[in-house]
Subunit: 163 residues, 6 copies
């Protein structure tokens, strides 16, 4: 019985209640889980890497088996280095699955020992998308239905900075 | 670190190379996996419960952490009794996911502690369906691209019995 | 400003909390809504037509603008006779939509003045399916997460009758 | 430049304007096309094999490069025997594609030289389904929006026979 | 019997025959409909807000119960202010529905009294996309199959301006 | 029996093993196939038009009936000019089909004689996407599982140029 280790990768701009829900399900399955935060991200970002890492740290402090780390190169290289043979992804829709299947098979072509494990978020939070949260935050509306309490100050100051 | 236990349920009429592929992926993630065979099944069956159990036993004899067992009542009751908090399902298509999501949320309404874990079969075997294998076997055609070598005699005798 | 009237058709074996959720949304949009219960239904039924009508009557007694009626012929003929130019359908999944689109366009080919209006059930009840509820009820398990309190006695006696 | 030959298989109970639309597109691509009619079919049929063959013959008499033939065994065996390396299928929805992909890959596992070619019916007829046409015909309603004029007498007499 | 009011929001760059088709269906259901034009839009726009408003005004002048208005903030705030409890959206594909479901549930998290009503455009215009129309117009090709006659001059002058 | 000619259009940045697989299937169906390379492309490109043309030429030199050509205007105009009544597209997922259907119907609205023919790539290469290949190449990782041997030098020098 070896300790099982999973990588839960994403951009997390910001980390939402949907991400937290999937993470908690992964924690029940794996001995340890690393939340891997993509260092670079193509879309017009709200939070920089340091803010995204800090925000997740604040959200997961009660989850003893969870670590947070940046990912700079290929996802499979990061997984291999940290000894994680499972990549965890939340799937909300059929459309998500199609995209994720493409990614999963590409990752397996790059490293044959890695598997992707798909988990369903609770239907209560399955509609939450980081893109929509950024839009709503930028319009000055209330984002408490979408992110953890501890995420609010960091997002508020990022919105203010964009001004 | 508790031992993790997963239930991989299905009708398995017959257990195919696609099922075996998903099972082997589950074995890499969980400390033990039980293949749960639905005792009753609505579709016009080829193999009876005993044959389906025996066929799977023959296919998994090299997988030390795998057990095979019939399921007679509710799936979540079976999972609870064997202490399995994870239900493993293979998803091949977007359509599969829609159906599985409905099942997973219904199961969680019946037992809140159970999660469903979705795994992707290899693209080499993802098209294999038990329904098609039954049709092809009944037409007397070669089913070796679809099932394990050890499954062939049982299927052949069931087809012969149907006449 | 003419009174708008919609038809909400289905087999409703049984009428679930998912159906009730969609109906309540229709009530907010239309001046009156008729729940149309298909007289014949192909699947192995649990409740007969009278029971299905009675069960829905019990569930909708607080909804003043709702009527319940059987449908015996073509759906569009029933809609035309009752002066309902809108057919209401709940859609839970992408798969549902594909099927419903086919039905909606076939109905419009039969009567060009009819439109189908799609509503989303709440995510809390979107997973509920009559087929699964019948299976769970037949196994003797608790169906209170899926149907209205007032539906329980009729379902219980139908299950008992089946023995 | 060899003559290209395609097989357009189906149950065709009945052959609809949707099937005819796909067939005419296939005729523009291939030198000859055989409409292959599945001899056995699982669903509760309206037309028997002879009627289905006769109905299609009546619909395609203006299409010089089209033949009609029954298929009794495996689809790929029929294709191989008639020298047809392409199987033509109409796809109307995303759901259709998922099912067809499974069939296509299973067929290619049985005969590696066969390809499936997917064509889109015109949006004007894409919603037409044989299952719905059978239901509408059995209710005595007008099916002229869905099938060719020449198909009407055969369907009418089959409905009458069912009584 | 209160007057029912719906909001039909979009970017409408440009408003197409597909949008017009959905709008006309909404007009048959609701006592009044407001076409809400998103003031800001992320994609590389062809028409500015004033042009988009003017183009729609020209297309809807025969529809007495329709108003046109810009939307500057959150969609649900606009709906609430104009007393519209229904948001109307056209869905063409299964993919559309997945995206719309996410939006609809996010909107309901922000204002619980709002419902989204999905309508199907006619299959004759369901393929029309504003993005493709912009591309085709910029290539100097004929866009009359896609937009109303009254929309042509405004689009032509916008294309000319881009040079 | 006229010679059949198909156009296989794309951006091909870069042309992958998935594209090659679809092309080889088209070659078995049509007398000649032109790979049409979109001159302009919106996404952040890796290879310019000349490089994309040269790369494809290198990949198809064994396929006698294949030509490579740039496309500058509307796709249907290019097809008409080269006498190609069939447009070939690979579809990997249900999502792909939804997008392709929209394109196909838009193209048919512009030129009624053109049909789109959909082919399935082998499941071994169906996950390959040019977008992912560009990302992987830019990270300096090995792209040999995704593109032909003869494509490697051109991609390597383009990555180097970007620095």
């Amino acid at each position: 019985m070896t300790a099982s280790h999973a990588l839960f990768p994403g951009t997390f701009d910001p980390f939402t209640l949907g991400h937290l829900d999937v993470l908690k399900r992964a924690v029940r399955i794996f001995d340890s889980v690393t939340v891997g935060v993509a260092a670079h991200h193509a879309k017009q970002h709200l939070l920089n890497l340091e803010e995204r890492l800090a925000l997740i740290e604040a959200c997961v402090e009660d989850l003893a088996s969870v670590q947070v780390a940046p990912i700079t190169g290929l996802l499979v290289d990061a997984a291999r280095e940290m000894g994680a043979c499972s990549i965890v992804r939340g799937v909300r829709t059929a459309m998500d699955l199609e995209y994720e299947r493409q990614m999963a098979q590409t990752n397996q072509a790059l490293w044959s020992e890695v598997d992707t494990v798909f988990l369903l978020p609770s239907p209560l939070v399955a509609h939450i998308s980081s893109t929509l949260v950024r839009q709503i935050a930028r319009m000055g509306a209330d984002i408490r239905p979408f992110v953890a309490e501890s995420a609010l100050p960091l997002i508020a100051s990022a919105v203010e900075r964009e001004g």
